[in-house]
């Protein structure tokens, strides 16, 4: 048997082994977890009402964001931003001398 024939036989052997492995694992899996039966491939209830309710609640939320007067929207500001604003205000109150130089730079 020459080198090429040996390679071909090895490759065929490997393929046969892999195919055997696949079939064995497939058999075991289908025994442990059989395919979903045909009669269970339909949802048990009509899912449209659930989906429609979700769409409508989103539409209501969208309208509220377009027309803010129709609902009260609270803007949340991080505590760190409040601290920075307080620091800036305190600096201006206690050191009013820096105001002209700030105005000059702006």
């Amino acid at each position: 048997m020459n080198q090429e024939e040996k390679k071909r036989v090895d490759s065929a052997d490997r393929q046969a082994r892999e195919s055997d492995d696949l079939n064995q694992v497939k058999h075991l899996l289908r025994q442990a977890m059989p395919p979903v039966p045909q009669e269970q491939l339909n949802p048990r209830t009509d899912l449209w009402p659930q989906l429609r309710a979700r769409i409508e609640s989103q539409l209501t939320a969208d309208q509220a964001s377009i027309n803010p007067s129709s609902s009260s929207i609270r803007i949340r500001v991080h505590w760190f931003d409040w601290a920075l604003a307080a620091l800036a205000a305190a600096t201006l109150i206690f050191f009013p001398g820096i105001i002209p130089s700030l105005l000059y730079h702006f």
């Binding site: 892999e18 492995d21 696949l22 079939n23 064995q24 694992v25 497939k26 058999h27 075991l28 899996l29 289908r30 025994q31 442990a32 977890m33 059989p34 395919p35 979903v36 039966p37 269970q40 491939l41 339909n42 949802p43 048990r44 209830t45 899912l47 449209w48 659930q50 989906l51 429609r52 979700r54 769409i55 989103q58």
Partner: protein
């Protein structure tokens, strides 16, 4: 205007019609992946919700069925990732049609445990290809990968399962 054009324009009635035309296919695809009817129903609603939200990205002359399968597969895969450790299959899906007497119920439980431990992307293709016998082309299209990659993942999933089953003392040569 046809149904898909009206859907893209935001017509809710057109969307309802598309939903009714495709919900069974989408649900059947999802339940085959997640193997739990309650989760499959929630994920079907989530799939159509995402479809509705991203309708502007859909081409009115496109293939709605292929698009919905792609979104459903991504959502089901996310579900497998999130629920990896807590997956328990419902009783009504556990009894094989033709039980092999060489495989005990304890062995079946071990096989299920090994299967749940597969990484989700391998579990997805293994479920569809090995258990549900779905064509590789269909799996590839739905998962957004090539057929060659599906084959590679099936091969790797098989190898991982064999290894895990051996460590759980399950003889893989038990085929009758």
């Amino acid at each position: 205007m046809d149904l898909q054009q009206r859907f893209v324009a935001g017509d809710l009635e057109a969307f309802e019609q598309l939903f009714r035309d495709h919900q069974r296919q989408v649900y059947a695809w999802i339940v085959r992946i997640v193997r739990d009817s309650a989760s499959a129903e929630d994920l079907t609603v989530e799939t159509f919700w995402r479809i509705y939200r991203s309708r502007s990205l859909f081409r009115a002359d496109g293939n709605f069925s292929a698009w919905s399968h792609r979104i459903a597969t991504n959502i089901a895969l996310d579900h497998l990732r999130k629920s990896r450790r807590e997956t328990e299959l419902p009783d009504n899906l556990l009894a094989p049609l033709a039980p092999d007497p060489a495989i005990s119920s304890e062995m079946r439980a071990r096989i299920r445990s090994a299967f749940v431990n597969l990484p989700p992307k391998y579990r997805l293709v293994a479920t569809l290809a090995l258990i549900e016998d779905a064509p590789y082309e269909e799996i590839a299209a739905a998962a957004g990968i090539t057929v060659a990659l599906v084959k590679v993942r099936v091969f790797r999933a098989t190898r991982m399962l064999r290894k895990q089953l051996r460590s759980l003392s399950v003889e893989t040569g038990a085929q009758s």
